[in-house]
Symmetry: C2
DNA sequence: CTGAATTTTCAAAAATTAATGAAAATTTGT
DNA sequence: ACAAATTTTCATTAATTTTTGAAAATTCAG
């Protein structure tokens, strides 16, 4: 398989993959493109290589920056902004976990905690079933919360172990 | 907060939550409804309680059965089919992980393995960057694959122990 | 300060995804 | 085997999400 073909394949598949995870296709494609680019790219590079409009490229690049997956790079003597993606896939995973935890797990747990205060007779079948479900989710969420925090915090030690692996 | 209000809240939020995970709103709502129902429900119960059409209810119930999250229940002396959801949230999580692994991780790894055979000079910057990314994903995927298999096979306290192993 | 380069916004259009509901198919009791 | 009950299908419609591109805002060199 030729490189150009493999690149296209990777970008297309990463985009399709993203849609299964609530991420829009273009955003995932921009991320894929930056992941395999040795040097930072400009918005125009992204527009051209993915055949998307200026507005679309801009929105999705900013969204990736929000997610902490892409950084702006200043190139001395250049007016345009350049963008680059974090290449260490373990760091990418950590960052995604961190953001999704913040955006999804935390609000869900807040809601579950509210719902667990529902008034009603615990002898009532409907009430009991509701509370059993809510409390099950609560316990699960608390465990997930702790575990994910541990994972997120241990980031630095992964970096170290990754570096060690690199040199042997 | 009253039970009826809490139920509505839970169903609506679970539905919204689902959309962040590539699951359609109605499917997540049907799941939520069955999770908090002490007894099995019929398609008509689902249609009525969620105000959705027959076709929609039918499609989403079947999809949940495909995912292994909902079962048909035979009620003796009744013509209609009844449906019930697995209530143990740890089992629910395991089942979802199992299915997503099969539907998403496995195909992605197949693609990555193909792409890692790309021809080209490893001295070329573009080729090197591509292969570095692909190989990084490959290693990550292999580790994730093992870890998820362990999680699927083991009971209860898998979450913390396996996750910690993954990152050390 | 000026104006050209660049980035950002956002209303409208396009594309995608989900829902409806009637018809077709299937199941089951008699 | 019949027919009523129930489930499933799927073409059409509706809702949602994404993309476009031109205008507005911003940045920055001279």
């Amino acid at each position: 398989m030729k490189l150009s073909e493999a690149k296209q394949q990777f970008i297309a598949s990463w985009g399709a993959f993203g849609t299964h995870w609530g991420i829009n296709r273009t955003m995932a494609q921009v991320h894929a493109l930056l992941l395999i680019s040795p040097d930072p790219l400009t918005q125009d590079d992204v527009m051209e290589q993915l055949s998307v409009s200026r507005g679309n490229a801009n929105m999705n690049i900013r969204e990736l920056i929000d997610w902490g997956l892409v950084d702006r790079v200043i190139v001395p003597g250049e007016r345009k902004e350049y963008f680059t993606a974090e290449k260490d896939i373990w760091k990418v995973a950590t960052q995604i976990i961190k953001e999704r935890k913040k955006r999804e797990l935390d609000p869900m747990m807040k809601l579950i905690n509210q719902l667990s205060t529902v008034e009603g007779d615990k002898k009532d079948k409907e009430t009991k079933a509701f509370l059993d479900t809510i409390n099950g989710i609560k316990k699960f969420g608390e465990q997930a919360d702790k575990t994910l925090d541990t994972m997120i915090k241990s980031e630095e030690s992964w970096f170290l172990s990754t570096m060690l692996k690199m040199f042997k």
